[in-house]
Structure formats: C-alpha cells, structure tokens
Amino acid sequence: MTVKWIGKRMMLGILVLFILSFLSFFIMHASPGSSATAYYGGNAQMLSAAEKERISRTFALDRPLVVQYGAWLMETVQGNLGMSAKEGRPVSAILAERVTNTLLLVGVSLFFIVTGSILLGMEAGMKPNSLLDRGLSSFSIASSSIPAFWLGILFIYLFSLKLGLLPSSGMQSIGGNDDFFDKVRHLIMPAAVIVLTHVGVYARFLQDSVKMEMRSYYVKTARANGVEEREIRSGVLRNALIPYLNYLGMTIPSFFGGSVIVETLFSWAGLGQLMAKSVMVKDYPLLMGGIMLTGIIVVVSLFVIDVLMFILDPKLRKRELGV
C-alpha cells in the first residue's frame, strides 16, 4: 500500500516536471529566431555545416514546435541538455557546478527557518498574551514586507562597508582560503536575508496552529488529569506540525523562486544567479536546464514534505492507504 502511495506521489512529480518543461519550452521558443542558433552554443560561426546539420536534425529545428519539444524531451531524458549559447559548454556541466551551491544556501536557510520558526512559534503559541505572542504577528507581517534584496543591500552596507565584518559577495575568498570558516562567513549574509524574511511567516503560522491545539478538548483534559507539561508540549507540537508542513509544502516553490534574487545580489554562484544571467543574455538552453533542475529540486522537496506528513498524520495515512 505504501508503495502505491509513493508511486502516486512520484507520478504527480513527473507530471509537474512535464508541465513545467512544456510551458517553459513553448514560452521560450515561441519567439522567432531564438531557437536555432541557441543550440549551436557560443560558437555558431565556427561550426561546420555538417555539424549544424547534425544538431538541427537531433533537435528537429526545422520541424514544428511540438516536434521540437518532443526531440528536446528525448534528449533531455537521456541527459543531453544541449550547449550553453553563451559559454559554449554543455549545459549539464554548468549546472553541475552550480547546483551544490544552491542546495547549500537553500538548505542552510531552510534549516534555520524551520528550527527558528518552530522554536518561536511554539514559544509564542504556548504562552498566550506574552510579549512574543503579541509581537510575532506584527514581526511576521513586517518582515515579509521587506524586499529581500533591499534587506540585503542594507546588510552589505552595514556589515561589509561600515563594520567590515563580513564579505559582501561571492562564495569564498580568492587565493587558497578554501576552508570551512571562510565559506561560512560568505554564507552568513545571504542565508540571514532569506531566513529573516521568511522565519516570521512560518513561525506565525505555527503559532496559530499551536493556539488552536491548546484550546482543544484533549489538552484541557490532559491538563486536568495532571499530565506533564512536557508531554502536552510534544503532543501539541506533533499535531500543529501537520498543518505547518502542509503550509511549508504550499510555499516552498516561491521560496526557491526567491533565492534567485538573493543569489544574484550576493553573487552566490548558484542556479538562481545562473538563471537570472541567462535571461539577460538570452541563453535559452542554459535557462531551460536551470528551470528543469529547479523544478526537480522543488518536486523532491515536496515529496520529502509529503513523506513527513504521511508519517506524522495518522488520518492522512488512513485515508491514503484506505485502511
């Protein structure tokens, strides 16, 4: 039964990727004259006629758009994402250089967002009318109203220019300082910007769920029966986490979208920066590759969240498995 459930989820993920690729492909290739040379990479003038011919046959460039898409899909499934129009190197190689950087930034940020929001949300929800409880919603709205790049500029101004504490951009210092602390120092500001603009919203969501749980009958009974506070806490958290995870799943796509801006601002050599650059230079194959890889990351994260919810939520398990 569980296998069937996983299969169903994976089908949905594949469907998402299919739709994503289909739409992006058509958006990008709908404009005239963009597709043909894009596949030749940065050396269109230097390719021999035979080579051009071969590429154009592989990607069905002279055929209707749907056929082109089919050809593209076939190649992509086999791992051939084409050549970057700007750099003239295989797209897959460029993506491989970038993906770990994005995962690092997003992973670290997500870790702090999740732990931070759970700590804050629990604190606030369990202590009604405390300062934290009353302050959190204002903080959440305010922090989510600051454009991330704006906060980033302020950070650079303050921490790099005025105080000289942290490097303003990039991933590591040049010239052999390739150690852990160096990377951490470069990571702090971009990650902090992402965390600060997100943690409030998630914390507030959890706070609301915790409050709802606290009002529920079982907590009151448990309290009356003298159940230990710690046990009540963990029970409440467990129940409140289900809608929290659901919310996380709903918002995680926009979260990945937002990293584009932070990466670009801090010259963090990740997928987001790459995609923003490819938009500027109209490097379609590279952009397409970046989009697909981001799509895969999102789909996988959603899957992980689904699994977590599946484990936490007995009702869902029952419904999905039909037991």
Binding site: G42, N43, Q45, M46, K86, E87, G88, E97, L119, M122, E123, I156, S160, L161, G164, L165, L166, P167, S168, S169, G170, M171, S173, I174, G175, G176, N177, D179, F181, D182, V184, R185, I188, S267, A269, M280, V281, K282, D283
Partner: protein, 523 residues
C-alpha cells in the same frame, strides 16, 4: 522553556564566533601571501591572444617588440632588426635564451607561425587587418627570420608587439578549438595556473622568465562584472586593484589603505551612427546630433572631472589636429541643421519628416554605468532639439552593434596613429563584410584614401599631414559623435610599489603592463 532560549542564544553566539574566527583567519593569511588580486571587469571566452584581447595577455605573453613607458615599440624578444633601403624587407634576430612556460625554446618558427595564423582566414583573427601588408615570411635560421611587405608600412613594428604563440601547441589542432585557448602557454613573466570558470583565473610567476623575475608570486584575476561589487571588494580588501567608476573615486580616496591612480588614456566614448539606419545618411543630421551634446556637463557630472571633452580619435596622439570642428555645444546650430535637412518641428515638440518622427534608440552595455549614464544624458538632451531618443541598456552578449540605431562606443589607442583608426573608419573594415571594427559601415572615400596614405607612407611628416587631414575629413563627415575621453582611475592597495603610469588604451587596458616590476613593500 529556559532551555529553548538558551539554545537560541547559543546558536546566535556560535554564528558570531564563526564570523569572528573567519575574520581573523583571513586577515592573517592574506597579509602573508605574496599575491595580487585584480578585479577583472569581465571574464574572457578564451585566452588565445590572437582571437581575443584580454588584460591577461601582458602577463602571459611577450612579443618581438614591446611598448615602453612612452608607448613606443622597443625590442623585446627581437634582439635587433634590420630594414632594407626600400623599406620592404625586415630581418629580425631573436634572443636565443627564451623558453615558453612548458620549457620548450622560442624560435623564429614560432614568430612566423603566429603571423601566419593571424593571416589565416580560417582563424578569423581580429588582428588580421594589422598584418595585411605582410607579403612573405622566411626563416633564416632558428633565431632569425625575414619579413617582406607588399608596400612600405611603418606601423609594422607596433604590430609586432603581438604575443608569440608556441607553434608546437597547435600541432594537429584547430586554432579556434585548441585546448591552448583554455590553457595557454606563453613566454611572459607569469604562467597559467588555474581557471575557475565564473570566479577567477590564477597566474603564477614563471621562474624561467628571461626578463626581470617577478616579485609577486601569484596574480589572480577575480571576475567581477559589477563595478559596485569591485569597489566594495576593493574597500574591504578582498581585491588589491580595481578600475573605478568616476563617482566611486571620492569615497575610495577616503580609505587609508588605498592609493588612487588617475591615469590619462586614449580611451574615448562617443555615439556611433549606424549608417545602415537611413536617418544618418544625411550628414547634417549627424552634425546636428554632434552639436547637441553638452560635453562639459558630461565631464563634470558623469565623469566627475576624470576625463575631457572629445572631438577626435587622435586627440591624445602626437598627430592631433586641434583646428578641426569641435562640435562644441550649440543647440541653435543643431536646430538649423535639422531644419535644413527637412526635419521640422511639429506642435508636439518633436521633429517630423514625411510623417516620420525623429526618433532612434541608443544602445549601451548595461554593465558599463558610465556609458549608460552618457546614453541617458544624451537622450534627454536630444529632446531639446525635437528628437525622441530611447536608451536600451543591454547585456554585452545581447548586443549586436551593427543592428543598433546608435551605440555608445568606446575606442582609442595610445599607439601608432594607424591603430584604432584604419580598422574603425576604413570602408573595407565594415563589420558586416570583414572582421574589422567598422560597426557602423561608415564609408567616406576621402577618409579611406587618407588612412591608406597614413598607413603606407614611411615619412613621419608625411604621415602626420595625412592624419591631420583625416581628422578634418572625419569631423566634416562624422562617424561618431565624440563625447569624452575618460581617465582610467585605479584604486590599488597602498603597499604595492612599482606601478608605472603611461597613457593607457581603451578601458584602461595595460595598467598591468609592468607587473613584474611590482612588489609588496610589506610582504
């Protein structure tokens, strides 16, 4: 509950400590490193000096000749040379003690190979027009060769500053796709170290270098296209040298650890008229748009005084002609010229001719703030003469200059007068039909003739005369609306010694020309 607060505080503290640790670490290691980090404005596609010009060329490569402090070509790899009486045959004798970075000796064959490669159409070298007068090359022995010209061509010695390529690196290889292009071998003071695409390129001192052994062990080119990031990193010590935007200078001057070099250049900015656009066919229109630029304000407001008003491509050259039309700011003249050309002002304040509005777009590279600002300023100023001008600030790779209406061009050369004139203004150098730089397909028979005269005559006075008239002809029939010469302002770490100023080429290229003489006075 307490426990949780403790955890939060602990996490925060940890972060601060990490930041602190890293901080200390960097400072201590940095100061002990004998290396120079250069904030490079752009990354290169490849490092083959005959296919693409980069600011790394001066470090990796050397040529038969080399420009000295006064921008004169003096012998370098060539030990001596002879010129025949008819000025057609040159015999070069090379130094016999020079090896490439891979340890193989540099011989006459390599020099011949380099020139032949430039002339080979398959390679589409951007330098080809420099060598078109070469008729034949003949090896005499391992360290001597003969170069025959079709016609006398004085600038050939300038041209022979071209980097020498190792012939053995291209055996069985296509010049365009050779592995050399990403892993070059030269005979310069620094050799290739490592190229991390997208971040940096490291060069190491070459201990077999035939000239002065460099003092600085490593030169790192860190690719930072954003001028703002360059300045921030310069200020924070993450890079040691950076080219500054004019408006950044005042702030950088406040930093104690930096020295500012304001260096004269032959680097001008102007608006290229693309002759493909019908609008520019009428010379009066081009003249009008040249008159309608308030250059003084550009120099003052955009260049912050780091530059001067431009009117000629040879203004910084010994052959400069000051008595040509300077197109100093004159709205009235501009309006009269447009009236005469049939562009008449309508009620909406714009000019029309045959129901067509006087409008065009100036394209400028988005990464070059100065050019974008100039384009914006020009566009705004042109409103007063009834033209609707848009500005398109695009990424370099999204720009095809020959497709634009008008382009904010940047050119200039401190070297021989032929350099950056012939390939820019001669009709045979149109970018549509050749690998030349005449992006606007500008064609003027008189200019063509004068450029040829200048290039082929060998008498200095004769050449000067040709170029003086050339400047006149170009001013009468402008290819560009010249705007301003821009100084190259470099911010550089104050502990570096040995920087020698000379008039620099465009984009301040050549600042690193004598980097082997530089040293850290504290390392």
């Amino acid at each position: 509950m307490r426990k949780r607060q403790v955890v939060i505080i602990a996490v925060l503290l940890l972060l601060v400590v990490l930041a602190g640790c890293g901080q200390k670490k960097e400072n201590s290691t940095d100061a002990s490193k004998n290396q120079l980090i250069y904030a490079s404005e752009s990354e290169f596609d490849g490092l083959n000096p005959i296919l693409e010009e980069t600011n790394v060329d001066a470090l990796l490569f050397r040529g038969l000749f080399r420009f000295n402090e006064d921008n004169e070509a003096t012998t370098d790899i060539a030990q001596s040379y002879d010129m025949s009486d008819d000025k057609l045959t040159y015999t070069f004798k090379l130094r016999d003690d020079i090896t490439f970075h891979d340890g193989k000796p540099l011989t006459a064959e390599d020099a011949i190979f380099t020139i032949e490669s430039i002339l080979d159409d398959n390679n589409a070298s951007y330098l080809k027009s420099d060598f078109t007068e070469v008729d034949a090359l003949k090896k005499i022995d391992d360290y001597q060769f003969e170069l025959k010209l079709k016609r006398p061509f004085t600038p050939i010695l300038d041209k022979l500053t071209v980097p020498i390529l190792p012939k053995h690196a291209f055996i069985e290889e296509d010049m365009r796709t050779a592995s050399f292009n990403s892993h070059p071998i030269g005979a310069g003071p620094y050799q290739f170290g490592e190229w991390n695409r997208g971040t940096n390129l490291t060069l190491k001192a070459f201990d077999q270098f035939y000239g002065l052994q460099p003092s600085i062990g490593q030169v790192i080119f860190k690719f930072i296209p954003d001028s703002n990031v360059r300045a921030i990193q310069l200020a924070s010590g993450e890079v040691d040298i950076a080219l500054l935007d004019p408006n950044q200078v005042a702030e950088m001057e406040k930093k104690d650890h930096l020295k500012i070099y304001d260096i004269d250049t032959a680097d001008y900015r102007g608006m290229l008229f693309n002759m493909q656009n019908e609008l520019w066919q009428d010379v009066r229109v081009r003249q009008a748009f040249s008159f309608a630029i308030d250059r003084a304000q550009v120099v003052k407001g955009i260049l912050k005084g780091y530059g001067e008003e431009a009117y000629s491509p040879l203004q910084k050259h010994a052959f400069h002609n000051d008595s040509i039309e300077n197109y100093s700011y004159d709205i009235e003249k501009a309006e009269k010229l447009l009236d005469a050309a049939g562009w008449l002002k309508a009620e909406d304040g714009f000019r029309y001719k045959d129901d067509q509005k006087l409008s065009f777009t100036i394209t400028a590279p988005a990464s070059d703030a100065v050019r974008v600002n100039m384009a914006n300023y020009l566009a705004e100023g042109y409103k007063s003469i009834g033209a609707q001008v848009e500005v398109a600030a695009l990424d370099w790779s999204a720009i095809t200059i020959d497709d634009t209406d008008a382009f904010m061009i940047g050119w200039g050369s401190p070297y021989d007068a032929d350099h950056h004139t012939y390939s820019l203004f001669h009709s045979s150098e149109s970018s549509l039909t050749s690998s030349g730089y005449n992006y606007g397909s500008y064609a003027n028979a008189k200019v063509d003739e004068l450029l040829e005269q200048g290039r082929l005559s060998t008498d200095v006075e004769e050449r000067k005369a040709s170029y003086l008239v050339f400047q006149e002809a170009l001013a009468e029939d402008p290819a560009f609306a010249f705007v301003a010469y821009v100084d190259a302002v470099y911010g550089i770490h104050g502990n570096i010694e040995g920087v020698k100023e000379r008039t620099l080429g465009h984009h301040g290229s050549g600042f690193l020309w004598n980097v082997e003489e530089w040293k850290w006075n504290d390392r």
